[in-house]
Every structure is written in C-alpha cells, then in structure tokens.
C-alpha cells in the first residue's frame, strides 16, 4: 500500500487500540504507554531481529508494564489498570512467538523474487487474518479441549 495510506492506517490502528483500552478501563496514560510501547518498540525490535538475524522464535524480552515499573511501583497503577493489563498482556505483549508482522515482512521480501506486485498481497493477508480469526474462534470453542478426538472433528465438520 502507499506510504501515506500506511501511515494513516498505523495511526488509526493505534488510536483504535488506545480508545479500546480506555473503554475497557485503562487510564488514558496507561493505555497510551501500553499500546505505544508494544507497537512502537517491542514489535519493531522483534521484527528487525527476525529480518536481520533470522530469529525463529521471538520470545518476549520485556512488557510495557516492566517499563512503567521503573518509574512507578506496580501497585500504584491501581487495581482497575492492573486487572485490564492482565488481559492485554496475556493476549498481546507477554508471548510474542506468533507475531504477525514478521511473516508479512517476509512475504513482501519474497514477492521481489517471484515478481509479484507487493500491493497484491494486501487483500490475501487481510482475508487470511479474518478467516483465521473466525475459523479459529469457532473451532477452538466448538470442541472443548478434553473431548477433542479426530471423530469429533469430523462430526463438527
């Protein structure tokens, strides 16, 4: 996508995430720090490590809350902030092994070798994200864990 669109999309995405965090109960400062540090520092460092060094597994080095703890004791953040951070940390920042930026970057790089127009990757990527989210949610909820057998999978299908 064009640079200008990418910048707008990035800013818009960050605003959506921050506003969502505030609606969920984070204080505005904590929401800004949480998502800005995650998307602006942690994700970028991990993506660079994969692109340059070929890291096969991007394990978390630190979370935004570890950065906050340098300046404010954790308990002073308040029960509400800590509760919601428990959710966002579990979902986004604590385990970075499935970071989606790196396969996107890799595919963009590979597109040069196979002479694919880079913009042609946008629609497939978005479709795969939507399909992946919906299918995985339905499938992983439909078959409760200890009941899962291959027969159940076939029945479910």
């Amino acid at each position: 996508m064009p640079y200008r669109v990418a910048v707008i999309l990035g800013v818009l995405g960050l605003i959506v995430a921050i506003v969502w965090g505030i609606a969920a109960g984070l204080s505005p400062t904590i929401a800004i720090v949480e998502f800005s540090v995650y998307l602006g520092v942690v994700v970028l460092v991990m993506a660079r490590s994969v692109a340059e060094g070929g890291l096969m597994m991007t394990e978390t080095s630190f979370r935004p809350i570890d950065l906050m703890r340098l300046f404010v004791p954790k308990h002073q953040l308040g029960a509400r902030n800590l509760t919601i951070l428990g959710f966002t940390d579990a979902v986004f920042t604590r385990d970075l092994r499935g970071l989606l930026v790196t396969p996107l970057l890799d595919s963009l790089k590979m597109s040069e070798s196979v002479r694919l127009r880079r913009r042609s990757l946008l629609l497939p990527a978005v479709l795969a994200m939507v399909v992946g989210f919906v299918t995985a949610a339905i499938y992983q909820l439909k078959l409760p864990l200890h009941l899962w057998r291959f027969d159940d999978v076939l029945v479910c299908l």
Partner: protein, 373 residues
C-alpha cells in the same frame, strides 16, 4: 527514459489471481484445523508457535507437489510461483493466528480468571469488580466457575453458549483489528528501509523460496546433502512420534537434563538446563546469522556458569543482577539495559567533552597562529 523502464518493469510484475485466493482460503482453513488439533488435542508438538513455521512449510511442500501433479495432468502450469507465494502467505498467517499469534492466548484469557477463582484466592473480590461485562463471556457480578468458563475447561460435548461468547469476541476483534492494522502499516513502512536500503537478509525467507522458485526447487530436490539432512531429522522425529503413540517402540534420545546429573553444590544451582542434540539444529544455524548462533550458544552456556559461580560465592548478587540472562526476571533485565545506557551516556558524554576541549584548544592555537602571522 528511466520512468519508461520503471513502467515496463511494473507491467512485468504479476498480480493477484482468483484461483490463488481461493486455494489460499482452503489452505488457511486447513492450517487452522491442523494447528488447533495438534497443539490443543495431541499436545505433543507445537507446529505453529514460531516465526519459522513448520506447518506452513509442510503445507507449502504439499501444495508444490500437488501443483506439479495437476500441471502434469493439464500439460500447463497450474499455479505459478507468485500464486504459490500468495497461498503460502495466507497459510502462514492463518496458522499463526490459530496458534500463539492470537487465539490460543485470547480464549483462555477470557475465562481463566473466572474458572480458577475460588474463595481462597479471592479473585472474585479483587478482580471481578474491575472487569466490564462486554470484555468477558461470564458475568463479573456472578459467582466463580460459571457455565461458559466451566464448559471451556471441562467440556460440554460440543455445546457452546454462543450468546455469551459473541459479545466479548466482537469487542476483542476491535482491538485486534487495530493492532493488526498497525502490523500492516509497520510491514509496509519498514520494508523499504530494511529490504531496499539496508539490504537485510531476511533469512527465514530462504526455505520457502527454495520450494516456490522452480530453479531453486530443482536444485534442492537434487541435493543429496539436503535429502540426507531431511532423512536423519525425519527418522528421529518419526521414531520418537511412534514411541509417544506406542511406548513399546524404543525412543531415540535427543535431550538430556543436566540437573539430573549435577545434584551437589555448587553445580546444582544451575537453572533448568536440557542440552539437546536435535538433528535439525545444524540446518537451523545455517540459515540463522552467525552472530545469532554464537549469542544463543554463548548465553545458554553462560547462564549455568554464572549461577554456579554465584552459589559458590565467587560472584556477588549485585554482579549477577547486572547479568540479564541468569534469571528470568524482567525487572533485572530492564535495570541492566538502563545501566548500560547510562554507562554509554556517561562515556559518550566524556568523549564529547574531550572532543569539545580539543576543538577549543585547536581553534585557540589557530587564532594564536593567525595573530602571530
């Protein structure tokens, strides 16, 4: 003239095709099903938790083989390399989303707090009042272990309370969409800098490219070394897989736990250390850059040594706290980096001071020389 060249080059680039998109969708759904089953049901192998995705590579190999077969039957190329890349991109993204990329972390996080709450830990009292109703599939004003949480962990014979899950999933999809929009933007913005200007290697692109590009593929398929490496790794994994299913079949041991042998002081102070002799590691270190392989081996062997020294009193706790790889403590790591930054700041400041002084001295001398002349 240059503009004309660029235009011609752009026209030669291939675009998106409908068949690639449809096959990509099928492969994405397959990837989600396989990942979920392997990681949550079989649980013996985690095939999509990392950036170097074994499942996506395996499906890519199957796709390439099927494509060869169909092309042979049709007597014309069915999927061209750029279309295979589109299918691979969709597969790898869907596989990672089903795994640690999102879903394996999101669903348990929404119900664990309710399922594991009990009167002893008083989570209901401590956390529930701060959780909005739309964020989770249970009622924060209700009791511990509500049906949605209980069904998730204990099974419900396939009955899902969709009404309770729909709102939180929709709510979370908003923030997930925001974060993924940023991912798309980051990939677009930084690709040019990293790929075009800095010429970074992107080492993880090499294995899929070997399979996607016909010329590389024929070289790979003819390489005896590649087949030997593949055969050794596959044999070890196959035998050990059979051993898991049928314990009567002997296991090929590839990992030892040092802690079993080092049981006395000071050596028992080492953190959990299981050195492995996985046959895939040489090939992994081949595609990874040399600095990474060196750092990985250095840090993993440095950690037990530091711990042993510390337990024997040869290193102080202060010394260890500056060493981030000796303990899984994020605060220590952050403090370490802040100290390093301060150190560099201090030494950099001294350098600047020295530079300023020498510049002032030189300009003074120059002024004196001018005045004298």
């Amino acid at each position: 003239m240059q503009r004309l060249d660029v235009k011609v080059e752009r026209e030669q680039l291939q675009g998106l095709s409908l068949q690639a998109l449809l096959i990509g969708l099928v492969f994405s759904v397959c990837a989600v099903l396989i990942v979920s089953y392997a990681e949550l049901v079989v649980k013996e192998i985690q095939i999509a938790i990392c950036q170097f995705n074994p499942l996506a590579l395996g499906l890519l190999a199957i796709l390439v083989a099927l494509n060869g077969l169909v092309s042979w039957v049709l007597r014309r190329p069915f999927l061209r390399p750029h279309e295979i890349l589109i299918v691979y991109t969709m597969t790898v993204l869907a596989a990672m989303i089903a795994s640690r990329g999102l879903m394996e972390k999101l669903l348990p996080a929404l119900v664990a707090i309710n399922y594991f709450a009990n009167p002893q830990n008083r989570w209901a009292e401590a956390f529930f009042p701060h959780i909005p109703k739309w964020l989770v599939p249970f009622d924060p004003k209700g009791m511990e272990a509500q049906p949605s949480a209980k069904y998730f962990y204990e099974g419900s014979k396939g009955v899902v309370v969709w009404g309770e899950w729909l709102t939180p999933l929709l709510a979370w999809s908003v923030v997930v969409a925001g974060v993924w929009m940023c991912f798309l933007a980051i990939a677009t913005i930084w690709r040019r800098q990293w790929a075009d200007h800095e010429k970074l290697n992107f080492p993880l692109t090499q294995p899929p490219l070997q399979l996607i590009e016909p010329s590389n593929r024929s070289n790979l398929l003819r390489s005896r070394l590649a087949w030997t490496g593949f055969a050794i790794s596959a044999f070890v994994f196959f035998v050990n897989g059979l051993n898991r299913l049928y314990p009567a079949i002997p296991q090929i041991r590839v990992s030892w736990t040092l802690n079993d042998y080092l049981t006395d002081r000071p050596f028992n102070a080492i953190f959990f250390s299981p050195p492995s002799t996985l046959p895939m590691l040489p090939s992994v270190s081949l595609i990874s850059c040399r600095r990474n392989s060196f750092s990985a081996s250095g840090f993993s062997s440095g950690s037990p040594v530091c711990r042993t020294l510390s337990s024997h009193g040869w290193a102080t706790n202060t010394c260890l706290s500056t060493c981030p790889f000796t303990r899984p403590d994020f605060t220590s790591a952050i403090k370490f980096w802040v100290r390093i930054l301060c150190l560099f700041g201090f030494s950099g400041g001294l350098h600047c001071l020295t530079f300023a002084k020498s510049s002032a001295k030189l300009s003074g001398e120059a002024r004196l020389t001018t005045a004298t002349s």
